[in-house]
C-alpha cells in the first residue's frame, strides 16, 4: 500500500509537469466525429503540436501500454499501478495520447505468439506511436466465413509472394504496416492453411482505395496486393498456424467494439442524449417527454441500458469470466448502440435526418452520419448472427 501511495504521488507529479494544458480537456468519446485524435505513424499530421508532445512523453514512459514489460518499451506497471495511472489520467481529464489498432489488437497477439525478435522490433514502435497498423482480415468473398480467405502467399525461398485483395481495412490509406491473414497452404483444409503475416505498406505492389459508406466518408479501404515480396521473418508463429492467432486477435477486437455501446451509454449526459433530444423536440409536460408512446420506448431502452451497464460491471467484478461471453457483449452492445441512435434520430423528427446546409447545426448533421455508421457495428468484427452462433455453440453447448 505504501508503495502504491508513493507511486500515485509520482504519477501526479509527472502528469502535472508533462501533460500539456490543451491535452486536459477530456477524451472525445464519440470517435466518429472527433477530429483531434492522434493515431501516430510515419505520416501523422498533428493539428495541435501539444498532442505530439503528449504522445512522445507518454510513449517514452511506455504508458500507452502500461502493463507491457519495459524491455518491449512498455510501462512495466502492475495491474494496481495501472489502475492508479488511469485514475490520475481521468482525474485531470487527460486525452488519450494514442489511438491505435496496434495497441488494441496486434500487440496483445504479438506478446502471445510472436518471436522474441519480432516483439523487440514491433512492440516498442506501437507503444511510441511510430508505426500505425491496419488489419487485413476480410476479403470480398470472405466476410462471416473468414477462414475461406484466398489472398495467397507463395513460398519463394527467402520471401513470400503475396497476391490478393483485402476489404474493410480501416485507415489502410494512412497506415504504415498491415497485419494480414494469407493462405500459405492451398491444399490444406481451410482453417489449416492460413498464416499471420506482417507487411510493410510501403512495399512495391501494395495499394489502397477508400470505400464510401452510407454515412458518407469512412475510414474503410480496399487493399490490393500485386506481387508483393514479403520477407520470411515477417511470418508470426508457424506457417499454416495463423488461424489460432487470428481468433485470439478477434477476441481483442470484439471486446473493443462492444465498448462502443458502453462509451455511448456512459457519455449520454450531454446534448446527444435521447432524453434531452426528446424533451427538446417533442416538448415536456410536467418534466415528462410529451409524447407518451415515445416516452415508453425510451424508458424500455434506458432500462435495458442500465441493466447492460450493470452486466459489464458484474463481469468485471466476477474477474475476467467475461472473456467467455465476449460475444454476448459484442452482440448486445452493438445492437443497443444501433437502437440508441435510431431513438435519437427519431426523437429529432426532421432534424434527425438532416444531411447538409444551414438548416441543420453541426451536431445534427453529425448525428445523421453517426446513426448510419452504427449500422456497421453489428457487421464488423463478426456479425450479430455470428455472435449468436458463438453463444449457441460455445456457451450453451447446442449441437452443430
Amino acid at each position: 500500500m505504501e508503495h502504491l501511495e508513493a507511486f500515485r504521488a509520482e504519477v501526479k507529479e509527472w502528469l502535472e509537469e508533462n501533460c500539456p494544458p490543451s491535452m486536459r480537456t477530456g477524451s472525445n468519446v464519440d470517435a466518429s466525429t472527433a477530429t483531434d485524435e492522434v493515431w501516430g505513424g510515419r505520416n501523422a499530421v498533428y493539428k495541435n503540436p501539444e498532442s505530439k508532445l503528449w504522445l512522445d512523453r507518454m510513449g517514452a514512459k511506455g504508458w500507452t501500454m502500461p502493463t507491457v514489460a519495459k524491455e518491449y518499451g512498455g510501462g512495466g506497471l502492475t495491474k494496481e499501478e495501472t489502475k492508479i495511472l488511469n485514475e490520475e489520467l481521468w482525474a485531470i481529464g487527460a486525452k488519450q495520447a494514442l489511438l491505435s489498432f496496434g495497441i488494441w489488437m496486434l500487440a496483445p497477439a504479438l506478446l502471445e505468439y510472436a518471436s522474441e525478435e519480432q516483439k523487440r522490433l514491433h512492440i516498442p514502435r506501437i507503444i511510441k506511436g511510430e508505426i500505425r497498423w491496419c488489419q487485413g482480415y476480410s476479403e470480398p468473398g470472405s466476410g462471416s466465413d473468414l477462414a475461406s480467405l484466398s489472398t495467397k502467399a507463395e513460398d519463394m525461398g527467402d520471401h513470400y509472394l503475396v497476391n490478393g485483395q483485402k476489404v474493410w481495412t480501416s485507415y489502410a490509406d494512412q497506415a504504415d504496416w498491415i497485419f494480414a491473414l494469407v493462405r500459405t497452404g492451398p491444399q490444406e483444409p481451410k482453417h489449416s492453411g492460413i498464416s499471420f503475416l506482417l507487411i510493410d505498406m510501403a512495399t512495391e505492389g501494395v495499394s489502397t482505395k477508400p470505400i464510401t459508406l452510407i454515412s458518407g466518408k469512412s475510414p474503410f479501404c480496399e487493399t490490393f496486393f500485386d506481387n508483393v515480396k514479403v520477407p520470411k521473418e515477417n511470418l508470426v508463429g508457424e506457417e499454416n498456424a495463423g488461424w489460432t492467432i487470428a481468433k485470439a486477435l478477434l477476441q481483442h477486437e470484439r471486446n473493443f467494439i462492444s465498448n462502443f455501446g458502453l462509451a455511448g451509454a456512459a457519455s449520454s449526459g450531454g446534448g446527444n442524449d435521447v432524453i434531452t433530444l426528446a424533451k427538446k423536440h417533442f416538448g415536456e409536460e410536467d418534466g415528462k417527454i410529451a409524447n407518451g408512446i415515445f416516452r415508453a420506448d425510451v424508458t424500455s431502452h434506458k432500462m435495458k441500458e442500465h441493466a447492460f451497464g450493470l452486466t459489464l460491471k458484474r463481469a468485471g467484478d466476477e474477474g475476467g469470466k467475461a472473456s467467455a461471453v465476449a460475444s454476448m457483449f459484442k452482440y448486445y452492445g452493438t445492437e443497443h448502440n444501433k437502437k440508441r441512435h435510431e431513438m435519437m434520430v427519431a426523437a429529432m423528427g426532421s432534424h434527425g435526418v438532416g444531411w447538409d446546409g444551414d438548416e441543420f447545426d453541426k451536431e445534427e448533421k453529425n448525428l445523421t452520419k453517426a446513426w448510419l455508421r452504427t449500422k456497421g457495428n453489428s457487421i464488423e468484427g463478426g456479425t450479430s448472427e455470428v455472435q449468436l452462433n458463438v453463444i449457441s455453440k460455445r456457451v450453451l453447448g447446442l449441437p452443430s
Binding site: 424508458t299 467484478d317 466476477e318 454476448m328 453447448g397
Partner: protein
C-alpha cells in the same frame, strides 16, 4: 458495491439449491396441486425451511433471526424459484419480517419477530383493491372510534391470505383515492371478528385470498408505524418484496431455460437434434443474454438495498420490470420450443408460464415499473 455474492450469500444459495433439488423438485408442487391441497404449501417442508433459518434471514439476532439481509433471502428465493417451491417464504419471511422489523415498535418486534423466525406464525400483506397494483388507491377505511380503530373495506389478491395468521393491512385514515398521504398500516389477527377470508384460485395454484373487513375493531396500538405514514412505509416494504420476487422470477427463467436447452439437445426431428437448427439457436442465445441482464439487475438491486443506497425505488423497479420481461420471453419461448408436449399438463414447462404471469401481476408488472422508473428518472 461489488456485483458478486459474498461468502455468506454463496453458502445460503448453495444450501437452498440443494434443498430445492432434493426436497422440493417440481414434483412436490405438482403433487400439492393434484391433491387440491387446501394450504397450497406443505407444513413439513416449511418447518424444514424454518429449521434452516430461512424465516429469520431479515430478522435481527436479538429477535431470533440471522440478519443476513435482502440479498440473503433473495438468493434463496432464486433457488427455490427454480423448482417452483410453494411456501410462506415470500409473504412471511420477506414481507412480514421486513414490515415489522422496519416499522414496528419495540413491543411489536418483540411480539412478532421471534414467532416468525421460529415458524410459529405466518403473515400476509393486504394492499391492493383493484385488478392492477395501485397501493395509493387504497380505500379500505380505518376510523378512530373512541380508543379503537374500526376497519372496513375489501382487499384483493393477498398473497398467502388464505393461510396467514397475521394480516398487515393498508387502510386509509384520511385523504382521497390516489393520495400517498393519509394511508396507515395495521396489524390484524386473521381470526379477528369481522375479518372474512375468501380464498381465490389463481393460475399458479398458490395461496391467495380476498380479505373483507367488516367493522373490524382493533386496539389503538395495532398501528404499524405512525398514523398516516403508511404510504411511505409501504413503498419501502414493497420495494424489498419486489426485489426478492424478482430474484424468484430470475430463478423461474433460469430453470425454464435450462429445461428447454436440455430438450433442444435430446429431441430429434428430420433425423437431427432440433438444437442444430439456427432458428432455435439464435432465439436461445437471445434468451441467454436477457437472463444475464436480469441477473445483473437483481444483483445490483439486492446488494444496493443491503448497503442502503438511496436508489432503492428505481432499482426495485428496474429489477421487477427486467425480471418480468425476461420471464415473459423465456416462458413463452420455452413452451413453443417444447412443441406439443409444451402445452400438455403432464410436462412441467407449462407450470413456469402460469407462475410467470401471476408473479408478473404481484406488486406491479413491467408497465407499472417502467412508468415508475421513468418518473423517478425525471423524464
Amino acid at each position: 458495491m461489488k456485483l458478486v455474492l459474498n461468502e455468506e450469500q454463496q453458502m445460503l444459495s448453495d444450501s437452498a439449491k440443494d434443498f430445492a433439488a432434493n426436497r422440493t423438485p417440481v414434483n412436490h408442487f405438482r403433487s400439492l396441486r393434484d391433491n387440491n391441497d387446501p394450504l397450497n404449501w406443505d407444513k413439513d417442508v416449511w418447518k424444514e425451511m424454518v429449521d434452516l433459518g430461512w424465516a429469520g434471514i431479515l430478522i435481527p439476532q436479538e429477535f431470533g433471526g440471522s440478519d443476513f439481509g435482502l440479498a440473503g433471502i433473495s438468493v434463496i428465493m432464486q433457488e427455490v424459484g427454480k423448482t417452483l417451491t410453494p411456501s410462506p417464504l415470500f409473504a412471511t419471511a420477506v414481507m412480514g419480517a421486513s414490515a415489522i422489523n422496519t416499522f414496528g415498535t419495540q413491543e411489536q418486534k418483540a411480539e412478532y419477530l421471534p414467532k416468525i423466525a421460529a415458524g410459529n406464525i405466518t403473515t400476509a400483506i393486504a394492499i391492493d383493491e383493484e385488478s392492477h397494483h395501485a397501493p395509493f388507491n387504497s380505500m379500505a377505511q380505518a376510523e378512530l372510534v373512541g380508543d379503537e380503530w374500526v376497519l372496513n373495506g375489501k382487499k384483493k389478491f393477498v398473497v398467502d391470505g388464505a393461510s396467514a395468521d397475521i394480516l398487515i393491512i393498508l387502510a386509509r385514515t384520511s385523504g382521497i383515492k390516489g393520495d400517498k398521504a393519509g394511508l396507515t398500516l395495521f396489524i390484524v389477527d386473521a381470526s379477528h371478528t369481522g375479518v372474512e377470508i375468501i380464498k381465490t384460485d389463481m393460475a399458479d395454484c398458490r395461496n391467495y385470498a380476498n380479505v373483507v373487513l367488516d367493522n373490524v375493531t382493533i386496539s389503538k396500538d395495532a398501528l404499524l408505524g405512525d398514523q398516516e405514514s403508511g404510504g411511505e412505509a409501504i413503498d419501502k416494504i414493497l420495494d424489498e418484496g419486489r426485489i426478492a420476487l424478482s430474484a424468484e422470477m430470475l430463478g423461474n427463467s433460469e430453470a425454464a431455460f435450462e429445461m428447454t436447452l436440455n430438450y433442444l439437445k435430446e429431441r430429434k426431428q428430420f433425423g437431427v437434434l432440433i438444437g442444430t437448427f439456427q432458428a432455435l439457436q439464435h432465439r436461445a442465445a437471445e434468451m441467454f443474454c436477457e437472463i444475464e441482464l436480469t441477473k445483473s439487475a437483481v444483483m445490483a438491486a439486492m446488494q444496493g438495498a443491503d448497503e442502503n443506497n438511496n436508489d432503492l425505488q428505481r432499482m426495485a423497479s428496474l429489477a421487477k420490470s427486467i425480471a418480468g420481461e425476461t420471464l415473459y420471453l423465456v416462458s413463452n419461448e420455452s413452451v413453443q420450443m417444447h412443441g406439443g408436449i409444451g402445452v400438455t399438463d403432464e410436462y412441467d414447462i407449462g407450470f413456469y408460464m402460469k407462475r410467470a404471469r401471476v408473479a408478473e401481476v404481484i406488486f406491479g408488472g413491467a408497465n407499472f415499473h417502467q412508468e415508475r422508473y421513468a418518473n423517478l428518472s425525471n423524464f
